[in-house]
Symmetry: C2
Subunit: 588 residues, 2 copies
């Protein structure tokens, strides 16, 4: 062992001990005849000092550069000027010996919490970026999260069971990554988008409480903060109903809040129907850290000759507390903001409830009294600002929901250290797609209809099918969908009906899902489960918007690992062995 202690553990009580530390040189500074080194490892920073009595050591220290790896031996001593910002700040090591274990060329950016390196250079030198405090804390948090998930679920009887990564391509939903098989010419494995079918087979096999922290793969056109490979906490239980699943994983979430963040949730997490979520938050993943619910004011505001409103399918309003004083400029800016294509509103109507009266952008059409009635109905009081969007219902609910979040941001109501979990339930089972003229499963084709909607599910009327709710639930945290699941179909007749509704021919369904349809004939128990997006869960716990810092070696928005320079071309011999020819143009 090259060290006796880490750089994070020495205290005043160790004074007088001779120790050896090993780590990276964070900084060397000269003060008079003294040379100070900040030595860093995973556990902290310890100050080393070479004094005038050790010319040899001093000479060596002066040759050290940033990020050199050294082993330093000396005696622990109380510091003159203590540093209460670090745990080892009461002591320093009076050096008697220094060994350079490895030199280092100057890193392309500073290894500090606030670095001077841009995103690209840091991605290329990820192993250096990972030395910085924020990433180290993210990776440590992720370890702790995973470990607590496993402890909690194991303690309550779950088995972690590994499922295969080389599986069969079943193109439904996102694209599969595929893997050519050399031993089976012309054939391909697929990488799993999730272990969905395997966990259901495990239920058929009798493993009534399964989980796995597992990698999943989706070959999607990448959006910001999407990764082609990502990690799920995948769970499934048998002999359960929806309430059992929700209780079990609410228990897991509470355990994580407590053991990882020290936050105790004593009450049940709130629940909300999909319909309410859309009506009051314009989103299926409401951020309930702040109130500012949406109000439908269509009836209240129509019929006054303001054609924009009169022609609108929907008029919605939010009450922004205490913001009646917003200036023209501020309101113009918000108006421009809602008109951006990402939000998609045509314009914005405001009502300011000033102390000296009501002021609105629709004064021409409504009297102050009329607006006061509306304000009263939606709970707005003096000093508040009402913002109103109108238009097509679905689109404007979404836009108003987005505006609500933006106002939450502007008012600092979305504190990343505040956690507001929520279950959203009662989703529609099916979504009709006009383009392809077929239904798609809103979750996936194994989600059970709610028992009370089973008749409608077997109806041939599109209107009936549209009304069928799924026995599904999403776990939402701070406006982000972190988990989702459902009670599954365990009756092979219901499963076959589902494939029929989704427009798969019997042959097609058999080809793609034959093994699971078949498995269900051999005694499938009632079952259900859920999966958490682990990368996202970690980033929320870490108080960050982006998941990239919580993945040790992430890919960029083109799905590339810029550190490895992957993907890359492969040898022709390798292509030949796989019976493949590429039609891509070679770049010369």
């Amino acid at each position: 062992m090259y060290r006796t202690h880490t750089c994070g553990e020495l205290r005043l009580a160790n004074a007088g001990q001779t120790v050896t530390l090993a780590g990276w040189v964070q900084r060397v500074r000269k003060m008079g005849s003294l040379n100070f080194i900040d030595l860093r490892d995973r556990y902290g920073i310890t100050q080393l000092v070479a004094d005038e009595h050790s010319a040899e050591v001093n000479a060596l220290v002066e040759k050290l550069g940033r990020e050199y790896v050294i082993a330093a031996t000396g005696v622990v001593a109380e510091r003159q000027s203590k540093n209460n910002k670090i745990a080892t700040g009461d002591i320093e090591i009076k050096l008697t010996d220094v060994k350079v274990l490895n030199a280092a060329v100057v890193p392309p950016f500073t290894i500090e919490d606030n670095t001077d390196g841009g995103e690209e250079i840091r991605a290329q030198y990820r192993y250096l970026d990972l030395r910085r405090g924020p990433l180290k804390r993210a990776i440590e948090l992720r370890h702790k999260m995973a470990h607590e998930v496993r402890n909690h679920l194991s303690n309550i009887g779950f088995l972690e069971i590994e499922t295969p990564y080389l599986i069969k391509s079943t193109p439904e939903g996102a694209r599969d990554f595929v893997v050519p098989s050399r031993m089976n010419p012309g054939e391909f494995y697929a990488l799993p988008q999730s272990p969905q079918t395997f966990k259901q087979l495990l239920m058929v096999a009798g493993y009534d409480k399964y989980f796995q922290i597992v990698r999943c793969f989706r070959d999607e056109d990448l959006r910001a903060d999407r990764q082609p490979e990502f990690t799920q906490i995948d769970c499934e239980m048998s002999f359960v109903e929806r309430e059992d699943v929700i209780q079990t994983f609410e228990g897991l979430a509470k355990h994580l809040f407590k053991s990882v963040l020290g936050k105790e949730f004593t009450e049940a997490f709130p629940r909300m129907s999909y319909a309410d979520a859309m009506e009051y938050y314009g989103s299926d993943k409401p951020d309930i850290r702040f109130d500012m619910k949406m109000n439908t004011v269509t009836d209240m505001l129509q019929g006054n000759g303001f054609s924009v409103f009169d022609e609108a399918e929907y008029i919605g309003a939010i009450v922004v507390k205490g913001c009646a004083g917003y200036t023209r400029k501020q309101l113009d800016e918000i108006t421009e903001w809602v008109k951006r294509p990402q939000v998609g509103a045509k314009g914005l109507v405001y009502i300011k409830l000033n102390a000296d009266g009501i002021k609105s952008s629709i004064d021409k059409f409504y009297t102050a009294e009329q607006l006061k009635v509306v304000a009263d109905k939606i709970g707005a009081a003096e000093g508040d600002l009402i913002l109103i969007l109108s238009g097509a219902k679905k689109k404007m609910q979404g836009a108003l929901g987005t505006l609500r979040l933006e106002m939450g941001n502007r008012l600092g109501l979305r504190d990343n250290n505040v956690f507001a979990p929520l279950w959203v339930c009662d989703f529609p089972l099916l979504e009709w797609d006009d383009e392809t003229q077929r239904f798609y499963a809103m979750h996936h084709p194994f989600t059970s209809p709610k028992p009370e909607d089973m008749d409608k599910f077997f109806s041939n009327k599109k209107e009936d099918l549209e009304q069928v709710n799924a026995n599904a639930y999403d776990f939402v945290l701070n406006g982000t969908e972190v988990g989702g699941g459902s009670i599954r179909i365990h009756d092979s007749k219901v499963q076959e009906r589902m494939f029929e509704v989704l427009g798969f021919s019997k042959e097609d369904a058999d080809y793609r899902f034959g093994f699971i349809i078949n498995a269900f004939k051999y005694g499938a128990p009632p079952h259900g489960g859920l999966a958490f997006g682990f990368d996202r869960f970690c980033s929320l716990f870490g108080g960050q918007e982006t998941i990239r810092d919580f993945i040790a070696f992430p890919k960029n928005n083109m799905g590339r690992d810029v550190m490895l320079d992957a993907p890359s071309r492969i040898d022709n011999a390798q292509m030949d062995e796989l019976f493949l020819v590429s039609t891509a143009k070679t770049e010369e």
Copy 2:
């Protein structure tokens, strides 16, 4: 919840309680007016009884078939005739209600510990095979092993860090599985053969104790009991020497023996050099559950005119205790066995130390006195049998090692409930390949030479290079290599020398490993680690020879998942998107 209790938990103390169990019907049998059901779930079997008072229940029970899924309600009662083979054998449930949760068609083989199903049908219906006791215990053991690995390593400061599965192809050693990239036409990711380079980058990044239970992929021509995807316990540490790594993972192994099997190892595990392993066991992974060491008797037996011996490079003998009484037939059989091509000996010489004198197959050339001298020297006593092979040294050492294992099998000396761990050290760093006229790394190209051999490593003489030992170690359990690792090269000059010795041009090395050569310039700490083959580790702990039962969904010897029927053909549209054309002949 469909149940109040599991099928494994009710005891006499529960008598009188009304309970509901859910599970699979193992068996229904009628005795007079009574119907008995054995109901099975993951936790055990409970007997249910429908008596003459409940005609309705009886009628229902008589319709049940094997593997039906039911929920059964009744009162816990003491059994008349207790069954002490099962934990619930003192009680039965007097049924008041039975609900069929799902019917089942008759399974294609019996769901019993000893099934009537052949290997192929069980693979096809893996979800049914997984219901059987032996597989359930294997999967549960695997869960427990993984959980204890994580607990132990986390407790001593290791972080589990996930590394990517979509990486860069670096063809050295086994073939990579590759994944075409749609977003980067003509380019491919590779699936990792191990996270070797990533764990070394994590050391450069300062994460001084890393582990991961991780899937690895190798596109090899499959041998029996090889899987194209397999799981490793992958570990790495910084600022350590060989002894630190061995101590750390010996600690892990001891923890697993204790926590999983209740076996306590208080002494240090034995260690052996590669040279000794080859000389005394004819194998780099000796099974030391039994002694029967090999003896080199070349000098003792040459020069007596027996040309087979006189012309042999090597003569080796094992002493089989107490087997002097072997018959001619038995000896002939063993002789045939060693002549099989898998063993490769030309013949077998025996010496029987009978009470009434020495009898051997070389009586013509050696007197009893001469043979007695040899017997004494190699520790054979009256009643023992000596078996001798001769020929080319390397080959015959291997053959004699194989014979030793076979004799151990025949004598019942290889009890799967006895565990004999062993560290094998001091492997040669390099292996010369005559065909390609180059050196190959015996472990992998990141393994450090032993410090004392560094001069030879920089020598240009083949003889010097052949003598360089690796700073490596294997963990062997019961004659199986379960783990292997090494102290790595952390000096970029040594790493560059290694690539040079392996015959990579600088450009080639840069193209394949440039990122890690480069990373080492930025302050790489001394580091080393090891990886355990987790599937194999589990199977040995489970006392089984084959790993397949310890993998929930394994592949067959052609790399196929016969349950899924994967790999399979993919749509032409999918091929087009990937810029690929297959040259494999289509089967019509």
